[in-house]
Point group: C2
Chain length 300, copies 2
Amino acid sequence: MPLLVVGSIALDSVETPHGIVNDALGGSAVFFSYAASYFTPVRLVGVVGEDFPTAHREMLEDRKVDTSGLIVEKNGSTFRWRGKYAGDMSTAETLEVHLNVLGTFDPDLSPTFADSPFVFLANGSPAMQRKVLSQTKKRQLVVADTMNFWIETQRDELYALLKEVDGLFINDGEARMLTDEINLVRAGRKVLELGPKFVIIKKGEHGAMFLSAEESFVMPAFPLADVVDPTGAGDSFAGGFMGYLASVGKSDLASLKTAMACGTVIASFNVEDFSLRRFQRTERDEINRRLDSYRGMMSF
Amino acid sequence: MPLLVVGSIALDSVETPHGIVNDALGGSAVFFSYAASYFTPVRLVGVVGEDFPTAHREMLEDRKVDTSGLIVEKNGSTFRWRGKYAGDMSTAETLEVHLNVLGTFDPDLSPTFADSPFVFLANGSPAMQRKVLSQTKKRQLVVADTMNFWIETQRDELYALLKEVDGLFINDGEARMLTDEINLVRAGRKVLELGPKFVIIKKGEHGAMFLSAEESFVMPAFPLADVVDPTGAGDSFAGGFMGYLASVGKSDLASLKTAMACGTVIASFNVEDFSLRRFQRTERDEINRRLDSYRGMMSF
């Protein structure tokens, strides 16, 4: 089934212990779309400036991502982020942010896109996320991502959003910030009280925890000897997760569990190189093999 | 098959956000023995002072732990540790250490104990660990634990030990310290180059990573809403791991994987209360149920 994603499209400049890239393709909606495209048709909504290279758009179209919702702002510049990872690369230090055209992003869905049954609201202001949500007429599953900035500055809007979504992606530090609970199981349960039917707490290199009223479990990250650039790992995870669910057209517990594994494995490819480079040389066969290997690792 | 453990026996005073205990039973060999006793007969070697309560020894004997290797030093005092956990309880702050009788611990194995096929050398000086090892005549599987203090002060002795053991337990920070590698897969591989056939890198609340020449995988910790006291979690993990292997009498990959799961689940009980309190109200049935639940969590 078609999967709609609304989020940022960026030109990232990233430094890690393994190298540097400048103005490389990035952004939550981009990582998400590419990751999800291995599983299901993706509809991308985002905004870029006139400086956005045509090659980037073509790369997404080559993956059958529908880019008809990509707005190009005349005389505008694409959102830019510059960051640095050091040591164990568990957190990025943001060196520069230029919102540019993202600062006034106010998406209007086409009638086709508004009918998408699976919807992912990538990290963005909760007010904007709610506005998009109100346009989706045939939604079957809506999942959102958020971050510390919105918890700090738009908590009420975020609470309103949480009442309207089925699932939430949030990282461990943000889950603790949102709920004032240090223990992640407790933090997750408090998130559920705010509205979502499930919450996925991202723990970086330590994997992710899933919680719903019925179930709680952790899936570890796929062990890797070469983590080159963690940028986009969380969005790739969400892309694999939502892409799988859209591909099977349901979200029962068994599907959610397989979706967690798909997200984990997809994210493991993403971090093995800068930007989308590793994805660009990854076919579905290789993903399936790593999924099998991951399944084997956890069977006893 | 019988499982020998040589290690510390302690009276712990511990403060966590959930409470305080004073002079409670603890020590690596104690947590290990109790945990392993759910799976196999355990032979305990350690030293205590005259102040060691008879009730503690009886508690272990009630679990069929063979305490004939427990030395009581006349006029001596039992090893004491006082520590505090705050925040997410990921690390203990040591407030006091009194080695007492442990300072001159120089174990001499009885002929029966020296014939034990499964051997665990709990954290202790590598020189002492090697001396014990040299007494074991029919060893089938030897696994050791170590810590930062020995890496810093007895690195050469530790290297010599690593050439003689089959497996090593070590925590993530210590694996990084020992190998100068930040990435845990790389750190683990470097440990393997030092001798052991497998290494288990303990990651606290994030579970544990297993590495051998053929395989690497991570098992997440069992998700818990109530972590009361992490003291002894690593030793309980090792006890469940070694206890299971001794119970099946082998250490092929499938057995090692199940052993990792047993270690994970046993440790999850240990941290739910202070000292050995949770173990004391845990029967094998409950362990089996949690093992089934853990298996289900990771199946997709």
